[in-house]
């Protein structure tokens, strides 16, 4: 009996593979399991190669998983296109379309002998029972129900609900296809049972959503009343959520003519006193730099979501990467500090988005949420979140006394000035990108400029003490360490569990606050460390370099960096940790030699 199964399914867009994955995830949630689904596809808008990965577990899931437990290939050409995204191992059960004509001992997987290989006449069963080969995906769901014990009732319940409006004939056709799949599985039991044990939390309420929708919902919860943006894969869904819902809360949304106009409108809305947001991906972040600089010098609160994809330039629009880190921290000319936060899962996207708004409002600054394509588009089941636990912070409004001879950029002890907005009697001021004195009037004085730069940078010092924006797990005094953020953090959390279980003395730091670099937190973390890995999906090892700019890393700490679309598996990380352990042991042995 298993507690955790990772399914990987591939076919073409016409096979409805992603649709099947969705049904499976929904069914798993209905049965009380935790689930995560990611999808990947080719460059065709319709009918290209298409795949999804669904991980189902009785315990909370940290990442979409490593090697597949179950691989479903509706055709091999498409399955193989996904390469390292659908890794098959000696523990994988491979189910594939018999109509490919390939014998079970000759499947085209090089260098691996799966646990079991089964050819199933999926298309034929679909044709026979539903009248169309297109019902393949439902047959597959039936096979999964039969062999792995998931969704026996819940899948069809979900399909019925989804297709209710389309007529009984369609629903019945699906039922027959499902039943045929299930029957086949029952008649051909697996050599080793892989049923998932029943979940203990069956019947509990579960949420299912993806990173983009979660971010948008969190923003509205945090009081965001304006969104300005432009379509760009993979962030467009955030804008779509706003166009569906923000009107209900008295807010507004604008699909602007371009990225710059989108952030421009958001800057305007903030100037007008409303919490506002924009969202984009790499190419849009590049375009938005000037406006971000403007918001920084004008000290206007603003949240900018960057859902990272493969770069540079147009790059890989549908693949995840973390290479916007430098751009997020440093884009826009001049001496600017702009906070950068990064969620690590769909679940914590809620908290981090609220945090981003709180920081933006409190420090009167643009804040970047560095999400990525994987978190943004993957669907996770979540336990309900108690929204009452979150504090919402609003910008410092001028008190009555402030409005007598109001100075918008008044120097205060914590460098934060009360901020007015149009409509507020007595609070009139000139906002601008030009350097200014306390009142907002333009200046070109060097001494004022230095004081204002000081104000605009020192105001962020308390951020560096926010230990709650960092997660340290593992053995606190471990000599071996990892640092990882975003979607890679999830992989490293699982790797940490695996490494600790194998007796390695190791710890993991997950920063939610990437910039400004909280030197104190890192120095404390690295105090015990002799060997370590700074892990990210960038070709230039951006995280390692960013940290080195600000702190002295122990000599044995190195980057483990890969270009996007080359996913890390927990096993990769564990292997790397073992290497570090070997290095450490060798150097200790060296130290034990008698010193002359």
């Amino acid at each position: 009996m298993r507690k955790d199964l990772v399914f990987g399914m591939a076919g073409s867009g016409g096979d409805g593979i992603v649709s099947a994955g969705d049904s499976l995830l929904q069914a798993a949630a209905a049965e009380g399991y935790h689930g995560v689904m990611t999808k990947s596809f080719g460059s065709q808008i319709r009918g290209g190669e298409s795949s999804c990965r669904v991980r189902i577990s009785t315990t909370p899931i940290l990442n979409p998983g490593g090697n597949l437990d179950v691989a479903v290939a509706l055709n091999w050409e498409d399955f193989l296109k996904f390469g390292a995204e659908l890794p098959v191992s000696g523990n994988t059960v491979v189910i594939y379309e018999a109509a490919t004509g390939i014998p079970e001992n000759q499947i085209p997987l090089v260098g691996v002998t799966p646990l079991q290989v089964i050819a199933v006449p999926i298309a034929a069963m679909a044709k026979e029972t539903a009248g169309t080969e297109r019902a393949k995906n439902t047959v597959v769901l039936g096979l999964i129900a039969g062999w792995f014990g998931i969704g026996a009732v819940a899948v069809m319940k979900g399909i019925r609900k989804k297709l209710a409006k389309k007529g009984e004939e369609l629903v019945e056709a699906n039922q027959r296809a499902f039943d045929a799949g299930r029957a086949f599985a029952m008649e051909h039991p697996l050599k080793a049972s892989m049923n998932v044990i029943a979940s203990e939390t069956k019947g509990a309420v579960k949420l299912i959503t993806d990173g983009n929708d979660m971010c948008a919902a969190a923003a509205i919860f945090a009081g965001c009343q304006f969104f300005g943006g432009y379509p760009i894969t993979p962030s467009t869904e955030i804008m779509q959520f706003f166009t569906d819902h923000v009107w209900k809360y008295g807010g507004a949304v604008l699909q602007a003519e371009d990225e710059i106009a989108g952030i421009g409108a958001a800057v305007g809305a903030s100037f007008a006193g409303k919490k506002s947001m924009t969202a984009t991906s790499g190419p849009g972040l590049s375009l938005k730099s000037e406006m971000m600089g403007l918001a920084s010098i004008a000290e206007l609160p603003l949240v900018i979501v960057d859902v990272q994809r493969g770069g540079p330039s147009t790059g890989l629009p549908t693949k995840t990467e973390q290479s916007d880190l430098f751009a997020a921290a440093f884009s826009a000319h001049g001496d600017v500090i702009r906070p950068v936060l990064a969620p690590t899962s769909v679940a914590d996207t809620f908290r981090i988005t609220i945090e981003a708004f709180n920081i933006a409002e409190y420090y009167q600054t643009p804040v970047i949420i560095l999400s990525d394509q994987e978190i943004a588009s993957r669907k996770e089941t979540l336990d309900p979140i108690d929204t009452t636990q979150f504090k919402i912070v609003n910008r410092l409004r001028p008190a009555g006394s402030d409005l007598q001879d109001y100075k918008r950029f008044k120097q205060t002890e914590n460098h934060i000035s009360p901020i007015s907005h149009p409509g507020m009697l007595g609070g009139t001021y000139l906002a601008s990108g030009i350097e200014h004195v306390e009142s907002g009037a333009p200046t070109n004085s060097g001494s004022v400029h230095a004081r204002m730069n000081d104000k605009r940078t020192k105001k962020f010092d308390p951020l560096k003490d926010r230990k709650d924006l960092f997660e340290v797990t593992g053995n606190p005094d471990a000599p071996i360490a990892m640092v990882a953020w975003g979607s890679v953090a999830g992989v490293c959390r699982e790797a940490l569990d695996m490494a600790l279980a194998e007796g390695l003395n190791v710890k993991l730091l997950v920063p939610y606050l990437l910039y400004p670099v909280a030197e104190g937190v890192y120095n404390d973390f690295f105090a015990s460390v002799q060997k370590g890995l700074i892990i990210d999906q960038t070709h230039l090892a951006q995280t390692f370099k960013l940290l080195r700019m600000h702190i002295d890393l122990p000599k044995g700490v190195k980057p483990l960096a890969r270009s996007g679309a080359n996913p890390f598996l927990p096993s990769d990380i564990v292997a790397a940790l073992h290497s570090l352990l070997s290095e450490l042991q060798r150097s200790h042995e060296g130290n034990l030699q008698p010193q002359e």
Partner: protein, 293 residues
């Protein structure tokens, strides 16, 4: 070789080996055929053609030709095309993109290319939707249109690409569609031949996100030939009057062609270079400019 000694090209000489990734049924398949035919009729060698585009489904088009292609960034085909033309005026320069690429993010650039009157042909494949990113509102979507980003209907009036370009004073403005393949190829050819900036708006349906009324059948139902209406393409005001019907009627053919095309930007630059080069210091002596007299 033909009798006149020039090299004759067939449409297939302009077709590259890259298989188009467009959805089957996409209007752009017909558009690229029209471009192959127009270029064959003109007979320019493929390697002497520069074809620039932005980002979008239709912006993939340069890769499907044997011209030097540049699939650049969203909305910026025109500045890049202008740079190419200024750097080498002898090249045949084409620019292409969709309605979003051209009239949303790219909108600011169109006016300036028109005012400069560079000899560049700009083809916009207009399908009133953002196809590549999965069906959002476009600047030419009708008011009230329901899309992914306007589930309760668009609140915006659409841009009229024809009026836009006519109002800025373009010397050649036409519209075409796969509803009339022969006409489209002929219009594209005429646009490329026009000595100066030429604009062709092509109603090229999106079979994945387009509305039923905007598919080929629906477009055929509302199309009318401008020549058939007796329109005089030398009359800009009459052209603008007809252009107002964008969206309700699909007028095909040439809206406006300047009967006396003025010198192009390239012509003027050439003139200036010729004039000023007479007084040029040899490059090795360029620092003489700073000699204190």
């Amino acid at each position: 070789m033909s009798a006149t000694g020039t090299c004759e090209y067939q449409p297939k000489d302009y077709k590259s080996d890259l298989k188009p990734i467009w959805c089957p049924g996409c209007g752009d398949f017909s558009v690229v055929q029209g471009i192959y035919r127009a270029l064959a009729a003109i007979g320019r060698a493929p390697h002497e053609i520069a074809f620039v585009s932005g980002i979008g489904c239709s912006s993939r088009i340069p890769g499907y030709t044997t011209a030097y292609g540049f699939n650049s960034v969203h909305g910026r085909a025109l500045p890049i095309a202008q740079g190419i033309k200024l750097a080498n005026p002898d090249l045949l320069v084409l620019a292409a993109g969709g309605d979003g690429d051209g009239f949303s993010i790219g909108g600011g650039h169109i006016a300036h290319l028109i005012r400069r009157n560079m000899d560049i042909t700009y083809i916009v494949m207009d399908n009133q939707i953002y196809g590549l990113t999965k069906g959002q509102l476009s600047p030419t979507s009708q008011k009230g249109r329901v899309t992914c980003t306007s589930r309760f209907g668009s609140l915006e009036n659409p841009v009229n690409p024809l009026l836009y370009v006519l109002a800025y004073g373009a010397g050649f403005v036409a519209q075409a569609s796969p509803t009339d393949l022969v006409g489209m190829a002929a219009t594209i050819e005429e646009a490329i031949r026009y000595p100066g900036f030429a604009f062709v708006n092509i109603q090229s349906p999106c079979v994945t996100y387009g509305e039923e009324a905007q598919q080929i059948k629906g477009l055929k139902a509302i199309s009318e030939s401008l020549a058939g209406l007796g329109h005089n393409p030398a009359d800009r005001l009459a052209a603008m009057d007809l252009a107002q019907h964008y969206g309700e009627k699909l007028h095909l053919g040439v809206f406006y062609r300047n009967p006396e095309p003025p010198p192009t930007y390239g012509d003027l630059v050439k003139e200036r270079q010729a004039l000023l080069s007479k007084d040029a210091l040899p490059k090795e002596r360029i620092l003489d400019l700073f000699i204190k007299k």
